[in-house]
């Protein structure tokens, strides 16, 4: 590694990362974890407990909320071989992109790994190396306002059409009542990875496939996918504010939690925040599977979730692996599930009474969580980012009305073919 690369890495880290802890000292660890919702607080508490137990000091570094931006920061740090961060919190779609930079955790926790959901362990295994331990899993769910559905005698919608009608009805009635800020549905419509998750759900719920099929075929240009995206485009300006085109997870939660939306698509973490003491919608929120595409459609939730990886360039890989083992353990996942409604990856925790008391929907939605639809990150390998970016651009253009789904999807197929050329 050249001096210039080191300097660049240093500048990247200093510029993009916010160091949240005390003075520097020799032989201590640094972990980068997310800051969406209560993530940062929970991460700090978990890390502190381990610090106390083992007497080691750990810096907690927070990174950008947008996963697209977070990956950019990670790539710059890892490409330069920086040892500044020992443990990285990585997205479920990144093991293929970043795996080369991480150590094989099988050497440290092969037995523990067996207790976690098998598909996630497989997802995190690259060429036989376990490059990441599952920390929490995620699946898109539908949040709804119980009080409003009761008030207007509506039931929880099972198809997107039902949801559209219910949302429209309640939105109009509430606005007539004087609540001019009321909207029907908020989701993640900003042009970033979150929109890919939302759109994968729409397309899959209509039976339109997963953009690129597991065997590598590009399948997105089909009538069901067009129907799905056109349906979503119909929401903008009617049941969803135009601003939804700029919302991420926290943007959508802001509108829903301040009481200004009937429905919201989000990840499970929003549950405990919506029910926190100062939340205006405390006790009025329900969670259901996302609606189906139609009578012959199915409910589809995008598979999300975050893992912990130990950098190859860490100066204390054994110590770092021990912290990962602690953070992904049964007890720590239980604490996070109760305090922050983060979905555990240890199957036994879905039968744990304390966990179910805190998150009553965990039991009902167990199927949703275990059968979530993966994004095509395995099939497209290192090209996944480009595929996802082209996809969310096409969807965003359709939602914002600059293109129709009939125009956007053939163009997207063409672009994906160019990226694929002879193979992924």
């Amino acid at each position: 590694m050249t001096l210039i690369q080191k300097l660049l890495a240093g500048a990247g880290v200093a510029g993009a990362v916010f160091v949240m802890a005390g003075p520097a000292q020799a032989a201590k660890l640094a972990i980068s974890c997310g800051a969406v919702g209560q993530e940062l607080t929970l991460c700090k508490e978990g890390v502190e407990a381990w610090s106390k137990k083992t007497g080691n000091e750990v810096d907690v570094i927070s990174t950008p909320n947008s996963s697209t931006e977070r990956l950019a920061v990670y790539q710059q740090m890892l490409a330069s071989g920086s040892s500044d961060v020992d443990i990285f919190q990585i997205d479920v779609i990144w093991p293929g992109i970043l795996g080369n930079h991480f150590i094989d955790l099988n050497d440290y926790m092969a037995d523990e790994a067996k207790k976690h959901f098998k598909p996630i362990i497989e997802n995190n295994t690259v060429d036989g190396r376990l490059v990441a331990m599952p920390w929490f899993t995620d699946a898109g769910v539908l949040y709804y306002r119980k009080d409003l559905l009761d008030k207007y005698g509506e039931k929880v919608p099972e198809t997107w059409d039902e949801m559209t009608k219910t949302a429209q009805k309640i939105e109009e009635a509430e606005r007539k009542d004087g609540n001019s800020k009321m909207w029907g549905y908020v989701f993640q419509g900003r042009a970033y990875e979150g929109l890919t998750c939302n759109a994968v759900e729409w397309v899959a719920s209509f039976g339109g496939g997963t953009i690129v099929e597991p065997n590598g075929d590009i399948s997105i240009n089909n009538d069901k996918a067009k129907q799905a995206i056109a349906t979503a485009a119909g929401w903008i300006g009617t049941i969803s504010p135009d601003g939804v085109l700029g919302y991420d997870e926290e943007g959508a939660r802001g509108v829903f939690q301040s009481g200004n939306s009937v429905f919201m698509r989000n990840w499970p973490y929003a549950w405990s925040l919506a029910n926190s003491a100062d939340s205006p919608v405390k006790g009025k929120v329900g969670v259901a599977p996302l609606p189906r595409g139609g009578d012959d459609g199915q409910s589809a939730a995008a598979l999300g979730g975050w893992q912990l990886s130990v950098s190859k360039y860490s100066k204390n890989p054994e110590l770092a692996a021990d912290l990962v083992k602690y953070l992904t353990s049964y007890d720590e996942q239980k604490r996070r599930a109760i305090k922050g409604s983060y979905n555990p990856t240890v199957a036994d925790l879905y039968k744990d009474k304390d966990v179910l008391d805190a998150n009553p929907f965990f039991g009902d939605l167990y199927e949703t969580f275990t059968h979530a639809v993966p994004r095509p990150s395995t099939a497209t390998g290192t090209n996944y980012n480009k595929v996802s970016s082209d996809f969310w651009q096409a969807v965003h253009a359709t939602l914002s009305g600059t293109q129709t789904a009939d125009q956007a999807l053939p163009a997207l197929e063409h672009k994906l073919k160019r990226t694929k050329r002879s193979g992924w």
């Binding site: 042009a191 135009d242 601003g243 085109l245 802001g254 200004n260 480009k386 965003h396 914002s400 600059t402």
Partner: protein
């Protein structure tokens, strides 16, 4: 030219000796990265492993596979980015120059508290772009933003506008924030030129009873024109490589993606260091072309100061 005297030659030599350290540093910090970027533009380097890459000639720019053309020059998104950049630069620099002129003329008058006002006007320029862009992001928010709230209370809007998200408004929002931020810079440069104007022309004009507007167009404007032309170059250079304000306000929006944003996306998001470097190289070429055209058409003299 006659032979220079030995004294002149000695002076030239010492001038070069004193310049040498600066030139070496300039080559190291500016020349080397630039050349390396040019070179990477002709390779297939990838961010995930920068130690191995191969030379692929001009394939990043233009290549044909199976009868279909690939490469930067055939990418409609790249041309959209070029168009966005030029549109942004022309509109925002024009607005900034016009508004900066107005502000400078006001600040050039004598009034109480002038020093304070001059300092206050500079505040938008002093705030880091990232911070001001984030601040505007909140003010322009469709649900909680103060701009929508004010416009609705004034009865100008009936429903909030998603300024940074909607394709119709995103570019306007970016230009608005850029004009807010950079007008003080133009005002400052124009003010400096105004301060150097000779007073006797104005006295003569006043004695002759010429209308102030006519004085402005016939005396002030021609006299400060060289300084304004140079100020416009500074701004145009900045505007053509604009990145931060757009990246924060309207990330990933094709309507506002500029050449720098496009190059960064290829370099970092897609890990295509080779292709991204090719884009950066073209960005350099486009900027150089624009500035050269401006200097030639505007007959700007850069080596004679402001006169």
């Amino acid at each position: 030219m006659a032979h220079a005297s030995s004294l002149t030659r000695a002076r030239r030599r010492s001038a070069w000796i004193f310049l040498a350290p600066m030139l070496v540093i300039l080559v190291a910090v500016a020349g080397w990265p630039l050349l390396r970027t040019f070179y990477f533009g002709f390779t297939d380097a990838n961010l995930s492993d920068l130690s191995s890459y191969s030379f692929i000639g001009t394939e990043n720019f233009y290549a044909v596979y199976d009868g279909e053309a690939f490469g930067l020059l055939t990418d409609p998104e790249w041309w959209q980015a070029v168009w966005n950049t030029l549109f942004f630069s022309v509109i925002s620099v024009s607005l900034e120059t016009a508004l900066g002129m107005v502000v400078a003329l006001v600040l050039n008058q004598n009034f109480r508290g002038r020093g304070l006002v001059r300092a206050a006007v500079l505040i938008p320029w002093a705030i880091p772009t990232i911070v001001s862009a984030r601040m505007w992001n909140w003010m322009l928010h469709d649900q909680f933003g103060i701009i929508n709230d004010m416009l609705m209370k004034l009865g100008i809007l009936s429903a909030p506008i998603a300024w940074t998200a909607s394709p119709d408004w995103a570019m306007s929002a970016v230009i608005l924030v850029d004009v807010w931020k950079t007008t003080p810079f133009m005002a400052l440069l124009i003010l400096a030129a105004l301060q150097m104007l000779p007073g006797d022309c104005y006295e003569a004009a006043r004695v002759d009873g010429i209308h102030p507007v006519r004085v402005f167009f016939k005396v002030t404007l021609p006299l400060i024109k060289p300084a304004v032309m140079v100020a416009v170059i500074f701004r145009a250079l900045d505007a053509l490589r604009v990145f931060d304000v757009i990246y924060v306000l309207t990330p990933n929006n094709p309507q506002t993606t500029t050449m720098s944003v496009y190059a960064r996306q290829q370099l970092v998001d897609f890990q295509e260091v080779g292709y991204g470097s090719a884009a950066s190289t073209l960005l350099f070429v486009v900027i150089a072309f624009c500035i050269m055209a401006y200097i030639m058409i505007g007959r700007v003299r850069l080596d004679e100061g402001g006169h």
